[in-house]
Symmetry: C3
Subunit: 366 residues, 3 copies
Amino acid sequence: MKSLLNEIRRTPVLWMLIFVPAVLVAETVAPHSHTLLFVLSVLAIVPLAALLSHATEAVAAKTGDAVGGLLNATLGNLTELIIAITALRAGQYMLVKASIAGAIVTNALFMLGACLLLGGLRYHVQEYNRAGARLYSGLLLMATVALLAPSAVADLDLVQGEAVMRRLSVGLAILLIIAYALGLLFSLKTHKELFASAEHGEGEEHWPIGLAVGTLLVVTVLVALVSEIFVESVQKAAETFGMSPAFVGFIIVSLVGAAAEFAVASSAARKDRLDMSVSIALGSASQIALFVAPALVLLSYVVGPSPMSLQFWPGAVTMVMIATVTASFITSSGRSAWFVGALLIFIYAVFALTLYVVPPTGQGTG
Amino acid sequence: MKSLLNEIRRTPVLWMLIFVPAVLVAETVAPHSHTLLFVLSVLAIVPLAALLSHATEAVAAKTGDAVGGLLNATLGNLTELIIAITALRAGQYMLVKASIAGAIVTNALFMLGACLLLGGLRYHVQEYNRAGARLYSGLLLMATVALLAPSAVADLDLVQGEAVMRRLSVGLAILLIIAYALGLLFSLKTHKELFASAEHGEGEEHWPIGLAVGTLLVVTVLVALVSEIFVESVQKAAETFGMSPAFVGFIIVSLVGAAAEFAVASSAARKDRLDMSVSIALGSASQIALFVAPALVLLSYVVGPSPMSLQFWPGAVTMVMIATVTASFITSSGRSAWFVGALLIFIYAVFALTLYVVPPTGQGTG
Amino acid sequence: MKSLLNEIRRTPVLWMLIFVPAVLVAETVAPHSHTLLFVLSVLAIVPLAALLSHATEAVAAKTGDAVGGLLNATLGNLTELIIAITALRAGQYMLVKASIAGAIVTNALFMLGACLLLGGLRYHVQEYNRAGARLYSGLLLMATVALLAPSAVADLDLVQGEAVMRRLSVGLAILLIIAYALGLLFSLKTHKELFASAEHGEGEEHWPIGLAVGTLLVVTVLVALVSEIFVESVQKAAETFGMSPAFVGFIIVSLVGAAAEFAVASSAARKDRLDMSVSIALGSASQIALFVAPALVLLSYVVGPSPMSLQFWPGAVTMVMIATVTASFITSSGRSAWFVGALLIFIYAVFALTLYVVPPTGQGTG
């Protein structure tokens, strides 16, 4: 308990935990103040995500190499997963799909770009391990191709009905999870030496296992509670700010979900350890494509009002492909300067602006 | 004759030659057992393709460097070409186009992936000559861009009629064949030293020239006969298995046509000679785009019931582009491990599944 | 004045200045001979562009590093800009957009390809600085992504009206110009040593500043006058030759506008200085995307009959993306031989043929 309090004292973001009780109280007192609830729930999710990430790493560190790596890889995007499951239960499929596509784009463009920019503002030119970056970007490229293939390949207007699309989506979800399992075998077992530099929190003191598991459970419940308020309020609040569900899922949910990892990745960049920044950003994007997305499709049969497909709207397909190819190309050189990061963020801004002004309509909602 | 029998004894696949008389007999006895004829004809084409490939190499070895290289390059995909011409004569344009697009994708994803996977299961990390792989993937990238440009660029719904599309296709076919001729000049004459590692059958004893030419002629006739049975039976048999013409052309014809080269490429990979595997896989894909495809367009004016265009359905364009870009990116690193191969095969499986569940409808049949 | 005459004597292309008075006279004498005026105006713009380029460099050389670099970067595509402004004033938006997309494609495929081909015909294999080429191709990739994002991402058929598209275009134009300004800061200030090899005319005697500024002003006026005749005559002349406005903008205007830079870039390639050729070709393409295109959108509010959007027709988006990715991939290896150049030109020819036979219809005109 003392380590937890120490952690909170040391990490400024954890002071934001005050917003967790705040949003729960506000929900009871003023259940119709959607904008207030939306802002408070966003502010509450950020520190919870950070705590979740710490707790996952602590549990992983205690359980040894293979199981720990598995835990870290599986729970690394737990916040995104919980928010998406909540939206799934509410039947908000556009929000779910936008948050899947948006998480990949946010990791590959914004998180990577911000790391390169922040690192580049301190160091003139940064060099990093090309081989490692190539491995991650290759995995990301193939993961997104697999995820998007049906949306890109199938002539969706001509699809003979919902049933066909669902059968395809379930088949793909199973293939993706098999690929994910093979990827874990590869990175945790047969070729783990290639992934060595991806270790996040080396050298820091870890919590005792009881505290870690307890924190993991309690915070998961809290994230789930706050997510519910977030998903309930977001649609009406978004209307107030003139934002479509696609914009909220693609930009807001992605940024909120990535906040905790962003703190780690950008601090690594400021220490000239771009290897780690690249592996966090691209690894997280790959995990969304190979694990979170298919898990949500399969979960939709259990928790959703109706099954969800893997059919994305055309603009999402284009944005994810552009983000992935650009990130692959940029990281394959092994060198960086501030302007490279600035341009990645710039492309992200262009996507955000386009999505804000011209939201997708109708398609991809099933 | 003795060398031919020796060859058959040494090469297990050639025992499958038994299916050649079997399918010819079955065609006479039971001309309406489409499924049986389909299965038998596939089983008969595989050893014939292997024999054709051996005979071509033997003739090429005897006729000296330049002519031999030309023969090898031109007849390397003879099986695919004969099957496609048979389908062309039957007016099955969707089958022809699907087999063109499918041959590129099968070579770039499945053959390359299987080589990397099989090699990777034996060797921890395989390194190979980056420069050579880059050359091949660059050629492949440009060949597919040239092939697909009209489908990608022209707004096909707005095309002012069949006549325009045909004029464009003939113009492009001529451009592609000029590019192919320049490519032969480059690889066989001005820069042949760059392509040295692509030599397939070095160190093996070759047949006498008479036997080689004779085998080449006889086997070509046999492939043509069996192809006719294959194309006749495939449509009805495919319906039985729930397969569309696009799926049959894209997956079945491509795999059958590539079987012989696959044997050579995968055995090279198992000997840690990935240079050769990459050059066979990507070289074969390039040849389909630059030579087989335009040859079929021009031949359609002679043998087809009506001229064939180079207009592919949108999904085919996307799949070929994704396959080419992915193969280029993967091979440009010069390193590989088993998971890279697994992911390439995985993308191929995703394409196959998508094509099976959601076949293209209507478009690209002219 | 003597240096100007010397320059004309030394540079054969400047003898073509004779076409400048010729076209001005023809315009007065035979204002309805559209084909004659079209041909004469094209022939007149080529030497004017060369002179403009010389004068810009001379002014840049006199004004010191930072201001000179800024001038060179901003006025480097002045000819394209003047022609486009003239077309803008005439309300020919399809011509303007086609010339923007075409200038990027012409620089990235034709100019680069011709340099690699011409260099490769003299040298067996040419090696050049990979790092520099990678930097330029990375910038080009990101610049075109930013330019094309809205066309690629927004489902244009569903756009809720012209007003939305215009708001988006203005927002993007401002973002693009900010990115351009950051790029100048990067290349002229913080990381100028990376761009050292891009210096064009080192070692040649420069004009006195008065002559240079005078030439710049006079030639700009002449280009504007001739451009007006060109834009007026082009539509009717194009009909005579069976060319659409898209083809004229994409191919003719781009080639005419790039002629001056092409002379410099190809002469560098013949001297085995491919670094410079690559930086001119890709740098010029980036500048069109980041500066000329947004400048035209903003200028359309001042000089055009109605505002112009950044919405390109789908084929243009595909061609620019293919050209950029291909150029990036080809130049990232740092090696070249003649066939690589031949294939780039070949892809350009395929695009030109497609655009000639199947012009885009209707879309992208607002």
